[in-house]
């Protein structure tokens, strides 16, 4: 039996063991059954939820908040990051602010956002935006500054204007990095989107979790987590495809 196969089998065995152990402990009354739901009951809950339309609406709600905050974050982060990488003046001016705001744990700002924007979806979107924008900004800035000098010098020598320099050298060069940092950012963005729903609104996967906690319905929590994990994997795979296609012409 080849090693690849033996690994797969071992993985499945481990997975089965974990699920089996979980079910066993719950049935044996080891944990407080309310707090730690059994795999069986979670599966049940999932099944009934998936039949009902509300879970799809919740998913869409979360995805919508994620999408807006994320795309805005990537756009703004790329723009400012490029600017800071290219212009020494802009970099010197903005770095103290960026460094300071980046060091502040953005999730700690949730009560502020709620106070300011209320309990709707906007505070969630702003939260996702704030987290994503710094991640992208710093990565983009670093990648602009890491472009080998001779590419920039050569482009200047053959007559590129400032705009052409950005379009022909900087943007393609950082494009690679933006895509790979975008992958990491969306994973985190999804989690932040969920957390954002803890504190406001009446929809979304995060709200499901919060509702599950409030009503001691752990099945609901686990179900929401499973759905989120699946979503995360799907999104990551999609971005993986984009990443691979973009890496075609890399040296």
């Amino acid at each position: 039996m080849s090693t690849a196969w033996s690994k797969r089998i071992l993985q499945l065995l481990i997975l089965a063991a974990i699920v089996g152990l979980w079910q066993l402990l719950v049935s044996a009354g080891e944990f407080n059954a309310i707090a730690v739901a059994s795999p069986g009951s979670v599966a049940n809950e999932l099944g009934s939820l998936l039949g009902n339309t509300t879970i799809w609406l919740d998913m869409l709600h979360t995805l919508r908040g994620l999408a807006i905050g994320y795309l805005a974050g990537v756009a703004v982060g790329t723009a400012i990051g490029t600017l800071m990488g290219v212009s020494a003046v802009v970099r010197a001016y903005l770095t103290p602010f960026v460094a300071f705001l980046n060091a502040v744990p953005r999730l700690a700002l949730i009560p502020l956002l709620v106070a300011w924007l209320g309990f709707g979806q906007s505070q969630q979107v702003v939260l996702v935006f704030l987290v994503v924008v710094f991640m992208v900004l710093l990565t983009v800035q670093a990648s602009v500054q890491n472009i080998p000098k001779r590419f920039v010098d050569n482009a200047r020598m053959i007559g590129a204007s400032r705009l052409e320099l950005v379009r022909e050298v900087y943007l393609p060069a950082i494009g690679i990095w933006v895509i790979s940092s975008a992958r990491v950012a969306i994973g985190i963005g999804l989690q932040v989107a969920l957390v954002g729903e803890f504190f406001g609104g009446h929809q979304g996967l995060g709200y499901m979790i919060e509702e599950g906690e409030a009503t001691y319905n752990t099945n609901l929590i686990y179900a929401a987590v499973v759905v989120t994990a699946v979503l995360a994997i799907v999104i990551d795979q999609l971005l993986g495809v984009v990443n691979r296609r973009a890496a075609r012409w890399l040296p």
Binding site: P148, R150, M157, I158, G159, E168, L250
Partner: protein, 279 residues
Amino acid sequence: MMPETAPSRETVMSAPLLEVDVRHEIKGERQKTANLVLSDVSLRVNAGEFVSIVGPSGCGKSTLLTLIAGLARPSGGTIKINGEQVTGVRPDVGFIFQQDALLPWRTASENVQLALKFRGVAKAERRRRAAEWMDRFGLEDLHERYPREMSGGQRKRAAIAATLVYEPRLLLMDEPFSALDVQTRDFIETDVLSAWSQTEDQTALLVTHDLEEAIALSDRVVVMSQSPGRVVSDYAVDIPRPRDIMDVRTTEHFQVLHKKIWADLRTQVLQGATPGNSW
């Protein structure tokens, strides 16, 4: 030692194309002090000349070229091209880097067209001109290749074509052939020399550590001192043109010159080395 004056390819009575009188220092990262890289370098190059600069490692010859290109500003002194002071990058100056600077996300043809694109040349026209130059350098079948798919020699040729395509009046080259194997080097040098001689009034300034290459290609060889660098001597290379790069080295004329300049260069190299610190 007094620099010997150089008879150029055609005796030009007007002012030199390039006038350099600079000193330059670079501020260190950690230390607060500045490193003097070039101390009072004076150089005159006439239009149409092919001049090489040789010198010990670290003597600042690459830095000098960067300053002439306008990519950096000298700490003190002036550089004038055609009587105008150099304040930045100029469209009539070309630079060939030691490592090729072809954009990895563009094909060879697109890379060569880039300079023309920046000059507003129409698409069909620039494709034609790029193809012309690429063929001159032996890249006939490689137009649609990406740099990643080409050998080192092919990339170097493409990089040279990408600079020559806009026929710069002053061509600066910073050890462009050092990364190539000897045979490839000879072929590419031949192509560069023929391109230069066919381009009207093109002036070339080559920085190299290979003295043979310098003599084989140039009208003049300038020797620089150890760091902080300055011009120590200026030799005329009056081997007649057109030259055969591969054969010229075996001629007696060449050997004599080589011996003379090498002795000079060696003195400069050894001046920096004391017993035990050559590591």
